[in-house]
Subunit: 377 residues, 4 copies
Amino acid sequence: MAQLNWGMIGGGEGSQIGPAHRLGALADGHFRLVAGALDHRPEQGRAYAQRLGVVASRAYGDWTEMLAGERGRDDRPDLVTVATPNSTHFEITKAFLEAGFNVLCEKPMTLTVEEGEEIVRVAEKTGKICAVNYCYSAYPMVRQARAMVQAGDLGRIRLVVTSFSHGHHGDATDADNPRVRWRYDPAMAGVSGQFADCGIHALHMASFICNDEVTTLSADFASTIPSRQLEDDAMVNFRMGKGTVGRLWTSSVAIGRQHGFDIQVFGETGGFRWASEQPNQLIYTPLGGRTQIMEKGEAGLCEDARRLSRVAIAHPEGFPLAVANIYCDLADAIRGEPRPGLPRAAAGLRSMAAVHAAVASARAAGQWVDARPPMFR
Amino acid sequence: MAQLNWGMIGGGEGSQIGPAHRLGALADGHFRLVAGALDHRPEQGRAYAQRLGVVASRAYGDWTEMLAGERGRDDRPDLVTVATPNSTHFEITKAFLEAGFNVLCEKPMTLTVEEGEEIVRVAEKTGKICAVNYCYSAYPMVRQARAMVQAGDLGRIRLVVTSFSHGHHGDATDADNPRVRWRYDPAMAGVSGQFADCGIHALHMASFICNDEVTTLSADFASTIPSRQLEDDAMVNFRMGKGTVGRLWTSSVAIGRQHGFDIQVFGETGGFRWASEQPNQLIYTPLGGRTQIMEKGEAGLCEDARRLSRVAIAHPEGFPLAVANIYCDLADAIRGEPRPGLPRAAAGLRSMAAVHAAVASARAAGQWVDARPPMFR
Amino acid sequence: MAQLNWGMIGGGEGSQIGPAHRLGALADGHFRLVAGALDHRPEQGRAYAQRLGVVASRAYGDWTEMLAGERGRDDRPDLVTVATPNSTHFEITKAFLEAGFNVLCEKPMTLTVEEGEEIVRVAEKTGKICAVNYCYSAYPMVRQARAMVQAGDLGRIRLVVTSFSHGHHGDATDADNPRVRWRYDPAMAGVSGQFADCGIHALHMASFICNDEVTTLSADFASTIPSRQLEDDAMVNFRMGKGTVGRLWTSSVAIGRQHGFDIQVFGETGGFRWASEQPNQLIYTPLGGRTQIMEKGEAGLCEDARRLSRVAIAHPEGFPLAVANIYCDLADAIRGEPRPGLPRAAAGLRSMAAVHAAVASARAAGQWVDARPPMFR
Amino acid sequence: MAQLNWGMIGGGEGSQIGPAHRLGALADGHFRLVAGALDHRPEQGRAYAQRLGVVASRAYGDWTEMLAGERGRDDRPDLVTVATPNSTHFEITKAFLEAGFNVLCEKPMTLTVEEGEEIVRVAEKTGKICAVNYCYSAYPMVRQARAMVQAGDLGRIRLVVTSFSHGHHGDATDADNPRVRWRYDPAMAGVSGQFADCGIHALHMASFICNDEVTTLSADFASTIPSRQLEDDAMVNFRMGKGTVGRLWTSSVAIGRQHGFDIQVFGETGGFRWASEQPNQLIYTPLGGRTQIMEKGEAGLCEDARRLSRVAIAHPEGFPLAVANIYCDLADAIRGEPRPGLPRAAAGLRSMAAVHAAVASARAAGQWVDARPPMFR
């Protein structure tokens, strides 16, 4: 199977996200990097792209240059990854989609609901793939959880409880550290801090596993470090289309929690929980039965769980390969085999609607509000 | 040290709570059972008390008979435990306090806030001990947590997150089982189901460890099994007097969770978590440091943690001995050494105020309400 | 059911073992303390016994005095517990058995194999109960494990792997601390250090769960702190009567392990593991199936597991109540309902034979030796 | 930094090991696949190599053809991976080393000690890198463990206890399954079954972390499934050059253990444990202190732990990226920066000596034997 051509925007030297995407794209051999505009500093970006094996003529100084240079080529990228600062996602993603490229956009896909709706419309109009990097949803045992819900193994889902809480912003004396501060500054982060950063992963996961959408929500935001303008801790109660009750807690001041992203799903005939720090297990309890440890690689898992695992049972696979699984889904989709599990623009839009709804609710003392984007109401 | 005399009301043969109290009272040799009215069926109660070693003349048919028989005796009980159905707690506790007995009342102490205030007043007036069986607060490592907060080891407490969620009422086909059904029937359970049953343990724990009181709250209640009139799942956001943000989730439909009571506390300079299924550890993370496993029995623990532990480090002590710790505190208090950790009538009253506040908030779509009893506002 | 009379020898004030036995005997109300010789210092022993509620005439200065005083009484103890220093177990146990008392002896039951055989003979001749306090075997989920093996749920047992390793003697600078030093001094501890102290609990557990006996063994002993004459670390390979392969590791220098006693059993059709720090679970995996978490209190457990548990599923019960379970078994046995799970003199003898066999093997560079007492060959 | 050229022998379509090596080599962009002889069936091998992007002229039918075709090229592979059946490792590795290629050989490097010594001599003579894929040693927290031992953080190492035990060969009815049977058939597997397969990973790990070598050992082998000629369970006691006591258990019939590879190291001033199923943590206890959870990505780790980690703290990295870390070390070594952590031919030789020593000891009822290869005595 021929390798696909891949281009990348952002993810320059020293960024955390760049290596994750490169490893994700390269690990399984589906893609080769052919073009890039990797840095907001043109020269550094060009030089770095060449060190990564891109030929000089396709190592660009910025994304507009790359768009101009690549759009007419026969060997242009089959996929472009957008891993730039949040405020630029909309513009770049839209431009590349309109030029006929498939795009994988980092989250958040946009900053406003209107922009999100625009991306959904553009993707639909052009017929191009617009994926969003909700990479946790690509862990094999998350796919297994979703498949079990879809198969009805848990009956109607009554309740989903999720958290994404860490303590890495818990040091008040660190509040002036620019790498932390911007998260809580509306001028740079927009309307929401921790909920927009981590909470939307958890909210997406709830929808993804339950195969349902958030309809209404009520939020309680807190800035537990008083100097912060945006929330560093949030609780969001929600309801989903099929009646499921949802609870979501997200925090960046939960000192001692490292990567505290987990989800519990409870239905009429069973429940399970999954945690990002031990992603290769799904802990399942059938109603009236014993708790069972399901393992990546065990016999009888769903097709996605099998397809997106590389090594034998109990050999752990971690975060970078969850990102790689997104690229596997993309490669398949580009080659003509769409994967329903791949998060698309609609998911990015729903997240943005939920962020704005949560902000509105929190400002109104927890009033319940509609969490859906207007175009999906 | 001479043994103390103990009387018991309720906790008849076949009840779960009776053995827990007997073991708690007897285990450390502080008390001997001298009188009892153990069953609402007078003959069974008298017979059972005698089988437990109570002399016939002090094996009573009901609590009024016991009150009449015991109040004038020189060797009357130093402590009376009230472990009867919830609706009778107020009346019995009040009567025994007024007659000059020390009382340990099962939770909930009363059904209404007014009754709770009455008990507080009576206890104050008589000078007698009125304790409430918030037994989880008597685990050694819970006392240690409280001591660390009091000592300022975590700095100001920003956030407390607690849950008490199990799945033992998750079977809808079991909804007609009388042992389950009454919990969700207002005629029998009062205004609240799961929150009044389990949630108040978690709320008490938050106050207990943080050494602070809940002032306002906002609640989201759900009956995830539709036939239930009262909630089987609740989320309560709250604020405490010193500004701490609180999150409390309680559920009885969380299939796969067995005894899912845990608490996480996050302050300016550290955080910790404790879970009732592994009660002998406290998981502590200082700001900027590594997570540490603190063990019951390790060197340097607070006086209460040392005093309320019986065997060496890593030899687990469980739930029945947490109840026994309440009796240790009571024995000390009766003998003239009051223990600040012992939950008293004020704690029982605050729980009742919080239940009624949560019900009011849930009915008003999560509106924030005052959670304090009027007498403490 | 009338309470039984109980007497205690040893376990004086400040000892660790005394409170564990008192709690064990009293917790469930089966016994009342009526006589005691609690301390090698006569006056302290008498005074302490009286503080524990023993009448002055039955608070003895030493065990010979107690034997003389109690043997002729109508209300003499139904059970005498021997919790004195190891070197005195044989003499006291033998004397009380011969005088017609039932005895619970702390481990090790004797110091030599010959003494062990003598106790077995005396117990047989007198028809009295001689139990040994292998208290770990009385945890509900250990009984469940044994019942599953007996029922054939795991098929033939191929392999048992157990360890009892802690790090509490890992500080070489502590080697002169008398509380530690005696363990490794042949003059005080006999032929073996760590294996005789902790290893025999693990070896008993292997026999107990597998319902089989150790026949041969090969040992590797090490004094990892060079100043020690006796081993502080030992590995013992063994074979059992039905062909099971055994592996036992015990250490007192395993810094970081607290109460590291666990066992894994593997048969033809399944395996399980149990650990003393989480004693309320049994982790079970059927061949070809998923690992399941079995919980104390779940439906369908064996009669012993149900009988020896006091509180609901997932409410932990710990070490002191495992000791109490030994007393429950004793109370039943005394009342005429013998409990096969109660460890008897034969188990104490087999441990002693295994200790001496392991010492011989270790001295002979791991040569395989017969581990059975002569009388059972 | 220019990519390196990489060739592969073995690891054909459908093998488990091929994808692991490809992901390992490609993930970080250090290597590109330029030549291959991937299958013992020439046509399938050539076709598969081309599907993986190798040009037709460098897609070979067997390794001799590849050696002939590549040895004279300017752009010949900088590294050749040997992932063929065990019995061919020696011959292929030797040939490529002699032709001046760097080689990464799958374990076991050879079948005999003599062959192992020959490889060591050839590697030395040619100056080429001969690495062996002890990939577990490339986990960041394993490198951290080794660094802490080297820095003396644990003092002199008294004791190392390791196991590599799974239950995937526990089904006796599966004993005729060719994928299982060959392991226990001397005609195909050589002198040892489970110890040679998994045990040597554990033994290597002990040496690796302790920075020491096994000198003598005593083994107890068992075929718990009687039809097996080679052992499916083994216990090996050993001693290391600096006096450390070692205990190693390996089993393939431990039903319920999945990937049960773990190690505990105990020194004078602390201990730690690491487990392959949770490879991103190192559980560390300083003497007299609390157990601490060390996390990949935390501040202050050793250079190797930092260099070989790709994503932030608590984002798990798993088995395939441990293999990738071996390739990172190889890339650095090839580029002139040798990495001491990279396992070399000497390690492969020592493993083979240990296997033969263990077999000899087991046959001699556990007699202690020299475990060193003659050339290192």
